[in-house]
Symmetry: C2
Subunit: 75 residues, 2 copies
DNA sequence: TTAATCGACCGACTATAGTCATCATAAAGA
DNA sequence: TCTTTATGATGACTATAGTCGGTCGATTAA
């Protein structure tokens, strides 16, 4: 699986786990609502600061999320 | 410490550990010579696919590198 | 001295991240 | 049915990632 697709899947999973809508997540990490959707649909790739701010809201360490991305990506 | 600065420091450390020049690293991960320098000087932030391709060349798992960035960043 | 290597830095460029306004649609509830 | 909530989607925009060609100074070796 592609990196962006893997990231999108992991992001969606953790957003749901946190019980947040795309809009709620976007507001809390100071990003645009549509952009969260684009990330989940693998049409954008986050920079690492974006990754860190999303993870802060989702209360997960960035390296843990990345570890899940690696797994889906297959490395 | 800022995220980009933390990342630049970690990148430089691991590039040195791998015994590569900025240019050698750039060639192997199909990026520009000057861009590696910009990353190390914290004037650019990588996307996650860029992160993954750099880590592949440096033979380190992305989540391990991110863990070091977290530590320097202070989370 | 000369040549080679390395890294900082620059200006200008192309590609893509991230914003914003807006419309469409499907699901759930009053 | 009417309304609200969540999401998909699009087009146009601004900001920044990433490229390219080059200069410069420091270092190291011939």
């Amino acid at each position: 699986m592609e990196i962006s697709k893997a990231f999108g899947n992991v992001l969606k999973k953790h957003r749901k786990l946190a019980g947040l809508s795309q809009e709620q997540l976007a507001l809390q990490c100071d990003l645009d609502r549509t952009y969260i959707g684009l990330l989940e649909r693998a049409q954008r790739q986050p920079s690492i600061t974006t990754l860190f701010s999303i993870c802060e809201v989702l209360k997960i360490k960035p390296h843990e999320l990345i570890k899940e991305v690696e797994k889906l990506y297959g490395i």
